[in-house]
Structure formats: structure tokens, C-alpha cells
């Protein structure tokens, strides 16, 4: 996926603004990166360079941190971030089946984003809702007891919402 020049500019500006509130104590590196990810949804290379310069550490160390922790993304997420829980209980109740349903429906693999940037697909280690297994988290909303047909339903519901929003924008048609 290509990151546009505007996105790069936005990333640099956002990161710089965030860094103003932090001193160069190395304990702040991860909190800063978390903030960047919160704002942008991912941490691009340009943001890593900014952070590295601020803390006087090599950029590669920041890259090391980003790739060590599962939470950080290197590419922009979709508008709907679908996270499939891969905890024990979810696994035993068919999380891999749910994963395949999403992959099949969206025509992308785990870790990818659809071309229209509508959906991205990720896995998470246990969100702690084991009693509701299998669980899928879409943005911040948790959906429990998912089945392949529920997956279709969730995608369809989103399509309807989009359609409504479109029609709402042009009411006289």
C-alpha cells in the first residue's frame, strides 16, 4: 500500500505536535508511539524518524520497538478495523472458521487492508471475553458468539449504513 505525500505531511505534523509535550526521557518512547498510533491509526516511517530524533536514539531502535510489540501497525488501517480474537476459548469455538469467513468475504488475508480502505483484518490475542467466544472486535465494539452468517450480516449492515449515508447526502434523488 502506498502512503500519499499528504499522509506523510500529516504524520510528521501530528508527531511533532505530540512530541512537544514529552521530554527526552526514554521511558516516554512507547507512550509517544502509542499516541501517534491513536491519532493516525498507524506509525509510518517518517513518524519513527521524528521520534528517534527527539529521543536521540537511532531510527532503527524505534523500528525495533514498533515491530517487537503487536499493537503497532506500519500501514494505515481500514475504516473498520476487524480484529479476530484468537484466545483459547475462541479458538476452540472456531475462531479460525470466522477468520476464513472474513478473508473470503473481504477477499484479503490477515494483516491486510481492502483496496477501498474500508476494512482491515487483524488477529488479537485474547480480548478477555472468553465466555462470549468466538469474539470479533470491530473498531472498539465487541461482537460475541460470531458465526459465518453473522460475518455476512455485519458486512451487509455496514453496506446498508454506507448506502443510507450516501442517500442522506443527496436527499432529493
Amino acid at each position: 500500500m502506498k502512503i500519499t505525500e499528504e499522509e506523510k505531511k500529516l504524520a510528521i505534523e501530528t508527531t511533532r505536535r505530540l512530541l512537544e509535550t514529552y521530554n527526552d526521557n526514554q521511558g516516554n518512547v512507547i507512550p509517544v508511539l502509542q499516541q501517534v498510533q491513536n491519532k493516525l491509526g498507524y506509525v509510518p516511517a517518517v513518524a519513527m524518524e521524528e521520534v528517534a530524533a527527539h529521543f536521540h536514539i537511532p531510527s532503527v531502535d524505534v523500528y525495533g520497538i514498533i515491530t517487537f510489540y503487536n499493537q503497532f501497525r506500519l500501514t494505515p488501517p481500514g475504516k473498520h478495523q476487524v480484529k479476530i480474537c484468537m484466545g483459547t476459548a475462541c479458538h476452540m469455538r472456531g475462531a479460525h472458521i470466522i477468520q476464513e469467513s472474513w478473508e473470503r468475504r473481504l477477499n484479503i488475508k490477515l494483516g491486510e487492508t481492502t483496496k477501498d480502505r474500508e476494512y482491515s483484518l487483524e488477529r488479537v490475542a485474547c480480548v478477555g471475553c472468553c465466555t462470549m467466544a468466538p469474539v470479533v472486535v470491530i473498531n472498539d465494539e465487541i461482537h460475541g458468539k460470531i458465526t459465518p452468517t453473522r460475518v455476512d450480516g455485519l458486512i451487509f449492515a455496514n453496506q446498508l449504513d454506507n448506502q443510507k449515508a450516501k442517500e442522506g447526502a443527496a436527499p432529493n434523488e
Binding site: 490475542a125 471475553c129 465466555t131 459465518p148
Partner: protein, 644 residues
């Protein structure tokens, strides 16, 4: 400074809180369980429904968002306190039901017993939770208030006895606090079971004036969710425990390390810290004493290994979370090289209770070397999933069959997976094992953080071993060669076995590699990573052999080794539920209008099994997959015979 100063200052806070608490009960009170598990089941829309209904009927009632009371199987849960009747707890309150209960109960006085789970107070009319088998075994200490108080309101916590322990601790000499904890025999609930008092003593004795206390809320074990529940339902309990621990070792700064996957817990703890600060229970000169403490939250970034204390510290220092050699232990040289104690959420949550009730009270629960209670997250194929707190040394059998009400769907229990990726699978024959640190380790599992996943006959043991190894292999930080490469090799072998490409020598190779990974790893992640494989090999070797020698998965779970098949004599011609459910259009009619699955197209998603009406149950799984051909042949021959 007067010695009674904290107590006097606290008495005022308490009085204020109790007034607030009493005011709450002047009107009907509705509690809705809205922890993450409740939200997944739709608690927030229930909350909206109830509020709408109250507004519509112009009724006056207090509606509170509370945490989780542990009965997760019945989510969403609602409790109504109404004048004249005992408080009643309702379960499975789905859309529409909540509004109806509120309407009928508050306007007509009909408590809608058909939706009730139990009453909360003893009475003559309804059974309470204590009357069920679960209630007989449960002994709630840490979870006592969870689900009954508003986690976002410090007054609720204070009015139910909260922060009295901290007040008491401020008047005790630190040595005495440590002695009490030592006498109580409290062992760390994070998994290893190290005596908490000794850890604190080491930290107190360590030279230096800057010391830290960290609450480890990086609950990474898949299948464990009790730390999340405690933090979401009663965050002040942990904050109070942390403050007492800090006072005992003489630390001026505390941290709560919460994992990124728990956004709601982060929010609740942040609010709790802020409220405690406003009330003067944290910050400078707590309750007018000369002790000061501040607590900060540090969010984890999604690395399982950061639950290990030295990796956790590395991550707080802005490094990749890679464990280091111990000693020196963090209690001597931890965060930024200063003496640091790191305790699990549950451990710290016991502390206020022990200080309040004394060490003898705590040793009175549980058994000998394992005093107190154990909190278990029951999940998997058990009927009553949720959180249960039972005295230590309760047996597995009691926990699963009495507290959990047995296995769902009339299936047979096969094994219990305890302790997450570091633990093991115990078979049915080990069901009399008492649950405590020592007995479980002896049986080949581990207490771990208390996640318990119940497995039935449909679960494949090779697959679950593969699942855990896949997890640890991905989460290995890569420092130790054996952990990094050994687990990868073990995973490759297990993957081959689950695909039916196992070789007879694989079992020996696995055992050998397991021993080497255990010996060659620095931290517990690598040291315990082979446990799931070893315990399943020990108790379920025949399943491995079936996979390797016959290409058959006895539990019919491994995808490559099964095929879906529709039994012709059970399939109903006029029904086509399965056809519509198939996402890849693999089901079609044959010449007899019986549904047939095209094996080439089938993605084995299980949709048809779920769609097939229960009165037919025509879809079955066959293993090994070539059985489908035999079944087809059988069908054709049978038809020929019948036609002749």
C-alpha cells in the same frame, strides 16, 4: 502529628460516602452489568432501552452501570432493587426484555420471575445464588463487590468498607504490614506462587530511597480474564492494595501496567486514581499523614512476554520487552535500577482484605501452604462460563461440575486446560486434583493466572497443543536460541501432524525438543512453552498416534483430516436450510433430491452443521476424509438393491 489523624480524616470521607449510598436507595435502583463481557452481549443497548423506557413512563429510578458479577453465561445481566421485594438479578436480558421487566416491575409490582436468575438477599420467596450448587462452593473475597457497586464512583467503594485498610495501614509501622502479609501466607497470584511477604521484605531491606511498586495487569494468557474483570468492576480495590504495598516497602511512586487490549480497564483505573487523588487518598500527605504516593498508568503494547517482570520493566524503560537474567531480582534492582516490587492485580486485591481482617482470617480459607481463595475464569464447553472464586484446594471436579454446572450439550468432558500457554491439559482421570499451586504443578499443569478452558469430546488435543505452541512461538522474544528455534521446529512438526503428514518418529523428536527448550530458555515463557505438548502427549498419546498412523482425527477437528457429509437417510427432501447457509455454494441436490456436498468446493466452515435443523441432524463430519467415498458407494449400492 496526631497519630489518629488518618482515621479522623477518613471518618469524614466515610460519612459522606454513606450518605451518597443511602441516597441511591431512596428510589428504585437498577444495576446493569456493563463490563467488556456484558458489552459484548449487548449491555449498552440494554442500558439505552431501560433509560428510554423510564423516560417514556416518567418513572424515577437510579440506573447504574456496574461491572461483572461473574455470571458471564447469562449476560446481559440486570439487577433491580425495588421497595418491598428483595433485590432480584435477571439474566439473558435481551432486547425488549429489559424494558418489559422495568415496566412491569416498577409500575405494576410484577417482578417477572420468569426472567429472574436469583435474588441477592435471603428471603422467603426466591432462591438466592447461595442456594445453587455454585453458591455452596463459592467464597467471594476479591470479587465480592464486583457487579454490585459503580466502579466509576469512589463513594460506593468507600461505603462498602473500601479504603479502611489503607487508613489502618497508614497507622501501622511498615514492618508490621509486611509481617501481617507474611503471616497470611499470601502467594503471588500471577502464576508462580512466590510468597508476597518475602518479596516485599526484600524490597524494603534493599538500600536506596527511590523505590517503585508496579501492578502487573498485563494479563496475556489467552483464556484468562479475571484481572480485566477486577479492574473494570472494582478498580479501587487494586489501587488500595497498591497503596498499601507501596507504604509497606517505602515506595513513593506506583505504576499500573495494563495491556493495550483492555481499553475499558485503562479508562476505569485512570478514573479511580483521579478520584482517589481528589479525596486525598493518593498524592501528597495521604489523609494528613506524612506518607505520599502517586500512581500512574503505563499501557502495554501487546507483547505476551511483558507479563514476565524483567521484560515488563524493559518495556517501561522504552526498550523491546526482552527478559534479562535474574538475579538481581527486581525487588533489589528493578525499574531504572531501583528496588521495585511487581505484583499481580489479584495479589494486590487480596491485600486490603488481609490488612482489614488479619492474617488468621486469610489462613482460615484454603489449605496449608495454599491459603486464601483462587479465582478462575471458566470458559470453553462448560455450561456456566464466567468467573468463580473458590477456596484453594477445591477439586477440579467440584469446580467444573458444581460451579460450572458440567459440560454443555450433554457431551463428555475430555480434558481441562489450565494455566494458558504455560499450563497443561489434565484428563478426566485427574478430576480429583485439588486446585492449588503445588498439586497442579505435580499433575503436569500449572496454576498460571487461572484461565481454565474446558474441552469436550469434539476438541482435538493435538490441535490444542499446536494452538498454544503457535502462540508461544509467535510471542517468543527471540533472545534464547532454544525458545526461538526450538518452538518453531516443534510447531512445524505439530502442524504436519494435524495435516496428516506426521511421521512415526515425530513423537520422540517432540519429547526431545521439549526437554531442550525447557533447559535452554531464560524466562518462564520458554521454560513452560513445551508444557501443553508434554501434558497432551502424556495423557492423550493415542490421539497423536491416530493422526500419524491412520490420518484420522478422533475429535474430528483438524480440518485436513475431516470431510463434511450429509447422511442420505436423515436428510429431509423438502428442507434446504443447508443450501442457503453454504458460503461457497457447495451443496446441491442429487437425483433423489437429497443434499450432497461437493467436496472440491467445501471450505469446511461448519455453517451447514449449524443450519441443519436439530430434528434431522443430517450433517456429520467424517475422519479420515476418504470415508466419504465409501459412504457414497454404500448409498449407491443400497439404492441399487432397493430398486431391484
Amino acid at each position: 502529628m496526631s497519630k489518629n489523624f488518618p482515621a479522623a480524616a477518613f471518618a469524614k470521607l466515610q460519612e459522606q460516602a454513606q450518605k451518597e449510598w443511602a441516597r441511591l436507595r431512596e428510589k428504585p435502583l437498577i444495576l446493569i452489568g456493563a463490563a467488556t463481557c456484558g458489552r459484548a452481549a449487548g449491555a449498552l443497548s440494554l442500558l439505552k432501552d431501560v433509560k428510554n423506557e423510564l423516560a417514556k413512563l416518567k418513572l424515577d429510578a437510579n440506573v447504574l452501570e456496574v461491572g461483572c458479577m461473574g455470571h458471564c453465561y447469562a449476560e446481559p445481566i440486570m439487577v433491580i432493587h425495588n421497595e418491598g421485594l428483595p433485590a432480584i438479578c435477571y439474566g439473558y436480558v435481551t432486547e425488549g426484555v429489559g424494558a418489559r421487566i422495568v415496566r412491569d416491575f416498577l409500575t405494576e409490582g410484577d417482578p417477572c420471575v420468569e426472567f429472574a436468575l436469583a435474588a441477592l438477599e435471603p428471603n422467603d420467596m426466591f432462591p438466592t445464588f447461595a442456594d445453587f450448587p455454585r453458591g455452596v462452593y463459592e467464597n467471594k473475597v476479591v470479587l465480592e463487590q464486583c457487579g454490585f457497586i459503580d466502579p466509576q464512583n469512589i463513594d460506593h467503594y468507600i461505603s462498602t468498607g473500601g479504603y479502611t485498610a489503607l487508613t489502618k495501614a497508614l497507622e501501622m509501622p511498615p514492618e508490621e504490614i509486611i509481617t501481617t502479609i507474611k503471616d497470611s501466607g499470601l502467594r503471588g497470584r500471577g502464576g508462580a506462587g512466590f510468597p508476597t511477604g518475602i518479596k516485599w521484605q526484600t524490597c524494603r531491606n534493599a538500600p536506596g530511597t527511590t523505590k517503585y511498586v508496579i501492578c502487573n495487569a498485563d494479563e496475556g494468557d489467552p483464556g484468562a480474564f479475571m484481572d480485566r474483570t477486577i479492574l473494570e468492576s472494582n478498580p479501587h480495590l487494586m489501587v488500595e492494595g497498591l497503596a498499601i504495598a507501596a507504604r509497606a516497602v517505602g515506595a513513593g511512586k506506583g505504576y499500573v501496567y495494563i495491556r493495550a487490549e483492555y481499553p475499558l480497564a485503562v479508562e476505569r483505573v485512570a478514573l479511580a486514581i483521579e478520584q482517589a487523588r481528589v479525596k486525598g487518598l493518593l498524592g501528597d500527605n495521604i489523609l494528613g499523614s506524612n506518607y505520599s504516593l502517586d500512581i500512574e498508568i503505563f499501557q502495554g503494547s501487546g507483547a505476551f512476554v511483558c507479563g514476565e517482570e524483567s521484560a515488563l520493566i524493559a518495556s517501561m524503560e522504552g526498550q523491546p520487552g526482552i527478559p534479562r537474567h535474574r538475579p538481581p531480582f527486581p525487588a533489589e534492582a528493578g525499574l531504572w535500577g531501583q528496588p521495585t516490587i511487581i505484583n499481580n492485580v489479584k495479589t494486590l486485591s487480596y491485600v486490603p482484605h488481609i490488612i482489614k481482617n488479619g492474617a488468621d482470617w486469610f489462613t482460615g480459607i484454603g489449605s496449608g501452604e495454599n491459603p486464601g481463595t483462587a479465582i478462575f475464569a471458566l470458559a470453553g464447553k462448560v455450561i456456566n462460563t464466567g468467573l468463580a472464586e473458590v477456596p484453594m484446594s477445591t477439586t477440579l471436579n467440584e469446580l467444573i461440575n458444581e460451579v460450572g454446572s458440567g459440560i454443555a450439550g450433554g457431551k463428555k468432558l475430555k480434558a481441562v486446560q489450565i494455566g494458558g500457554p504455560s499450563g497443561g491439559c489434565l484428563p478426566e482421570s485427574a478430576m480429583d486434583t485439588p486446585i492449588d499451586f503445588d498439586s497442579l504443578t505435580q499433575a503436569g499443569a500449572m496454576m498460571g493466572s487461572g484461565g481454565m478452558v474446558v474441552l469436550d469430546e469434539d476438541d482435538c488435543m493435538v490441535e490444542i497443543a499446536r494452538f498454544f505452541l503457535d502462540f508461544t512461538q509467535q510471542e517468543s522474544c527471540g533472545k534464547c536460541t532454544f525458545c526461538r528455534l526450538g518452538t518453531k521446529h516443534m510447531l512445524d512438526i505439530l502442524e504436519r501432524i494435524t495435516k496428516g503428514q506426521g511421521k512415526p518418529e515425530d513423537i520422540d523428536t517432540l519429547t526431545g525438543l521439549a526437554a531442550k527448550v525447557k533447559a535452554g530458555s531464560l524466562c518462564s515463557l520458554g521454560k513452560t512453552a513445551p508444557n501443553p505438548v508434554l501434558s497432551t502427549l502424556k495423557y492423550f498419546r493415542e490421539e497423536y498416534e491416530a493422526h500419524i498412523n491412520e490420518g484420522r482425527c478422533p475429535a474430528k477437528m483438524c480440518k485436513e483430516l475431516i470431510a463434511y457429509y450429509i447422511l442420505p437417510d436423515k436428510c429431509e427432501r423438502s428442507c434446504d436450510a443447508c443450501v442457503g447457509s453454504c458460503p461457497v455454494e457447495a451443496i446441491h441436490d442429487n437425483e433423489d433430491r437429497i443434499k450432497v456436498i461437493d467436496q472440491e468446493k467445501c471450505v469446511k466452515c461448519d455453517s451447514c452443521t449449524m443450519a441443519c435443523p436439530p430434528q434431522y441432524k443430517a450433517v456429520v463430519k467424517l475422519s479420515p476424509p476418504h470415508l466419504v467415498l465409501e459412504k457414497d458407494k454404500e448409498y449407491k449400492e443400497g439404492k441399487q438393491k432397493w430398486q431391484q
